[in-house]
Symmetry: C2
Amino acid sequence: MPSNAPIGVFDSGVGGLTVAREILRQTPNETIIYFGDTARVPYGSKSKETIITYSRQIIKFLMSKGVKAIVIACNTASAMALDVVAAEVPIPVIGVVKPGAKAAADTTKSGNIGIIGTEGTINSGIYNQFLSKRNPNVKVYGKACPLFVPLVEEGWINDPITEEIAERYIGELKNTDIDTLVLGCTHYPLIRHVIASVVGDKVTLVNPAYETARCLKKTLETNGLESNTPAREHQFFVSDGAEKFKKFANTILPCEVVETKDVSV
Amino acid sequence: MPSNAPIGVFDSGVGGLTVAREILRQTPNETIIYFGDTARVPYGSKSKETIITYSRQIIKFLMSKGVKAIVIACNTASAMALDVVAAEVPIPVIGVVKPGAKAAADTTKSGNIGIIGTEGTINSGIYNQFLSKRNPNVKVYGKACPLFVPLVEEGWINDPITEEIAERYIGELKNTDIDTLVLGCTHYPLIRHVIASVVGDKVTLVNPAYETARCLKKTLETNGLESNTPAREHQFFVSDGAEKFKKFANTILPCEVVETKDVSV
């Protein structure tokens, strides 16, 4: 596998772009091939079997592009499909849940950790499992925040309504003595400032997108896979609505997304 | 075709249950076979080709259950697929857009009509097309309200946050002199009271779910297809998450939903 082969990144839609952004920041020599499954978004409400099937299809597509590693930039797919699909391919596959959980378990001092995410992620209890494995003494408080994704996609990033909804969702976590809060959905870093102001400065926010990019960097180094040439043009594929995706991507990424292709997997 | 054959009703998810509810109210002898495409919801962001493919698959499934007529209880599919798929089957197929548009064109006195719906429905301009056909002099004001669906699904039906968001979305329509507002998304009748209080009592709300059930009744009569025996047990199928669907259905329908089956189409 040539070390300047691209990194495959996939998500159910646009959310994984926050993970792609962190990868571009932390490993600027790497080239990304992004797949957003916009025809089948959201994954959070779908069954485990369905998520595994979709993930397999996307990984097959990314492998056909010659990727040297794959990042599942979607909490639901990381929670439900990672173990199964990682065992089926000969390249490293990493998800967002494990790096996020590891960082949270290492950050907390009180042992009380909050997790916010979609209904699918929170109900799956996947963060709890990884956190307990890392530190059996932690207590985890999960809270689903289903309106955050549509609020971000509506662009109401700096908005009193978003603040009010964040207060409603996260307010109840303030009655616990959490000192660490995991942003367990890839859209949430985009309203990080709102969430931070609700929880206050005694609570450390953990951004799994950031932790995942760190984990990828380490994985590439361990496997001697770091690119030693400048990144080529990043490529973006979606299963529906290429133009809409491109518009959103250009508000998030530090590079210009010049083309997005519709493909079926 | 036996006149006590069932009516097929489909939607991208749970929203079409407001149409099913109106059918049960207006034609209580009819038996419903409902299909909610919960694995692939939402349709609003998907392309026309994708929506036609999905609609064909679902209609094939409903036809295999021996339905005598089909109601497309989804604005997006009514807008994008109705004409194509209706020509392919030998039974009546009706959608929600045409009956809603007809009622609105017949209701307005000022000639100014507002439409609210998902981004997909509003951007498609489909209500405008039907309205202009019915009455070339009407002026149409469309407004996408993407947060209404997740608010309804969150259960924030009587909620100051929903009122505030409704005020934001619909407030700008108040500066026009609309006298009629179409609830162009099947979820919206569930927050009808909030929408009504924002627009005030000078604006008549048109509920396409109600108009569609009326249209179905008339279509059955015209074709001699009315059931003259009591309804049998209604059946509910979804492409994912049967239990969650059942729970929501039981908050909406006047009958108890005792079973929901997961099927793939």
